[in-house]
């Protein structure tokens, strides 16, 4: 059901992991629904360019492939540019996903947005710690 491109991405996931030196963090989703996405970035405070990005996920193959692809698409872009990234662009770049898997691609977009929001919150000192609920 997945196309070649998705399978290739899944077999060679990019930017997997956790950046200790992050200045942007997000964790979204719900384990009870089978989807958790965690993202860390290092965004250059001068240029606002996303210099490093990493993700970890508890999610299906589509979630893994789309978050991998999404991270490669935002790496090297500015935070502003990254905010423009739509899940459609990620899916298109992978050559499409089965209909019932499209919702998974939204996770990557949401994680990036939440991550960049977190960067601005931290910068502005407005960050609030929320507990993740997963059961």
């Amino acid at each position: 059901m997945y196309n070649e491109e998705v399978i290739k991405e899944f077999q060679n996931l990019q930017n997997v992991g956790f950046l200790e030196n992050n200045n942007a963090y997000s964790k979204i989703g719900n384990a009870a629904c089978g989807d958790i996405m965690e993202m860390t970035m290092y965004i250059n405070p001068e240029t606002e360019i996303i210099e490093q990005v990493a993700f970890r996920t508890f999610g299906c193959a589509a979630a893994q492939a789309t978050s991998s692809r999404a991270t490669t698409l935002v790496k090297g872009k500015t935070a502003k540019e990254a905010l423009e990234l739509s899940n459609k662009a990620v899916v298109d770049s992978l050559g499409g996903l089965p209909a019932q898997k499209l919702h998974c691609s939204v996770l990557a977009e949401e994680a990036i947005k939440a991550c960049i929001e977190n960067y601005y919150e931290r910068k502005n000192g407005t960050e609030k710690k929320e507990e993740t609920k997963y059961v």
Binding site: Y2, I7, F10, Q11, L13, V16, G17, F18, K27, A31, A32, C33, G34, D35, I36, M37, E38, R56, T57, F58, G59, C60, A61, A63, Q64, Q100, T132, Y134, V135
Partner: protein, 399 residues
């Protein structure tokens, strides 16, 4: 290497079963209801298959009805019995871990005014006969509990439950789709009124099933039309399918002991290897092998999501199932795992490995190799592995 470990989803048709079917597509192609040579030839083959099925189940040939599969047999039994006896009562008892063919038939009946009790099961999936008895009211007309579960292999105490049903003059149907070919299925010994089978689960063809219905048990016809199957199931008889299920069941029963022994051995070897190689896993279903289908095993791998495992195994040529094949594509974790108390997030990381009569220990070795690598890789990229270990420990303590 290609390894098929999804025999509970479906099996291939055995070569000799297929060979037995072949003449009935092209040469002996008549309509079994036709009053001429072509029809009689077909009917003869159908009668022979019916005798084979009856012999395998230890009942009369007039108690065998051919359907299009296990789902139709369940629909026909449950809805058919309920509608024929709605004057007597409107209450049905089933369990939370039945196949959707049973659960959805019950839900349809609820819409029509019936009341259904969905019994809890214990943490190995067993229905408690005492709970069945306690659920009986003076409105109860039917009990439907599966003989063996398709996900976690639990063999239910149907004989005991049937005795209770009998004592209360309530009919009992059992879904034996996963049982046949794996454990003995004798309708007299079980004491059931109705029993469902599906051809493609025991090396017979797809699209053909059986309903055993004891003579004297009244049901309303489900598939309306012509007078086939003693006026209880319309539609031109599927001769090749019927011939196929006849040969398949004959073989399944003949080779039962040999196959069951072999499957249990390979399965046990697999289970032990997995348990020795990975921590924080749950082996779902009965621990006692004698109460579990010989080919069934089901694991939850804490901290990771099932589709990822399934996909990695698939890329390595290994076919398994996350939850049941039916619910794949859906986002809910298996209703069976939730019913036995697996926490939601852990249920998501579950895989069923179901063995067939031809699987080997070499295949197991290869599978475990790939599985261990996969689980470790996915856990390393899981943001909630550590947290879920906590969940797991709580859950284990509760049991």
């Amino acid at each position: 290497m290609k390894v098929y470990l999804d025999h509970s989803a479906t099996t291939y048709v055995d070569k000799d079963v297929l060979e037995g079917m072949l003449p009935y597509f092209t040469d002996v192609f008549g309509n079994g209801s036709s009053q001429h040579f072509y029809g009689r030839e077909a009917l003869k083959a159908i009668d022979e298959a019916r005798d084979k099925v009856a012999k395998a189940l230890n009942c009369k040939s007039t108690e065998i009805y051919f359907t299009s599969g296990g789902s139709e047999s369940d629909n026909m039994a449950i809805k058919g019995y309920a509608l024929a006896h709605k004057d007597k009562g409107n209450h049905i008892i089933t369990s939370k871990i039945e196949h959707p063919a049973v659960l959805e038939s019950c839900r349809k009946l609820e819409k029509m005014g019936f009341e259904v009790t969905y019994l809890d099961v214990d943490n190995e999936g067993f229905v408690d006969p005492k709970a069945v008895e306690a659920a009986i009211t003076d409105k109860t007309i039917l009990i439907t509990i599966m003989l063996a579960n398709n996900e976690i292999g639990t063999i239910e105490p149907i004989k005991e439950i049937a005795q209770i049903a009998k004592a209360h003059h309530i009919a009992i149907h059992t879904d034996a789709v996963q049982a046949i070919g794996n454990i003995p299925v004798d309708v007299q010994d079980l004491g059931v009124d109705m029993l469902a089978l599906s051809g493609h689960k025991f090396y017979g063809p797809k699209g053909i099933g059986v309903l055993y219905k004891k003579n004297g048990v009244k049901i309303e016809r489900f598939l309306d039309g012509g007078e086939q199957e003693r006026n209880l199931r319309a539609s031109t008889l599927n001769t090749p399918g019927i011939v196929g299920i006849g040969y398949a069941i004959e073989k399944a029963v003949k080779d039962l002991d040999k196959n069951a022994k072999h499957m249990a051995e390979v399965r046990d070897y697999f289970v032990k290897k997995v348990q020795d190689s990975l921590e924080y896993i749950m082996y779902n279903g009965p621990k006692d092998s004698s109460k579990r289908l010989p080919g069934n095993s089901d694991f939850s791998f804490v901290g990771i999501e099932g589709e990822g495992i399934l996909f990695h195994l698939d890329l390595a040529g290994i076919a398994v199932s996350s939850g049941s094949a039916c619910s794949s594509g859906s986002l809910d974790p298996s209703h069976v795992l939730l019913a036995i108390g697996v926490p939601m997030a852990i249920a998501h990381g579950s895989i069923r490995f179901s063995f067939g009569k031809m699987n080997t220990k070499e295949e197991v070795d290869y599978t475990v190799d790939v599985l261990v690598k996969t689980v470790n890789q996915l856990r390393s990229m899981s943001p909630i592995y550590d947290e879920l270990i906590g969940e797991y420990k709580k859950c284990i303590m509760k049991k």
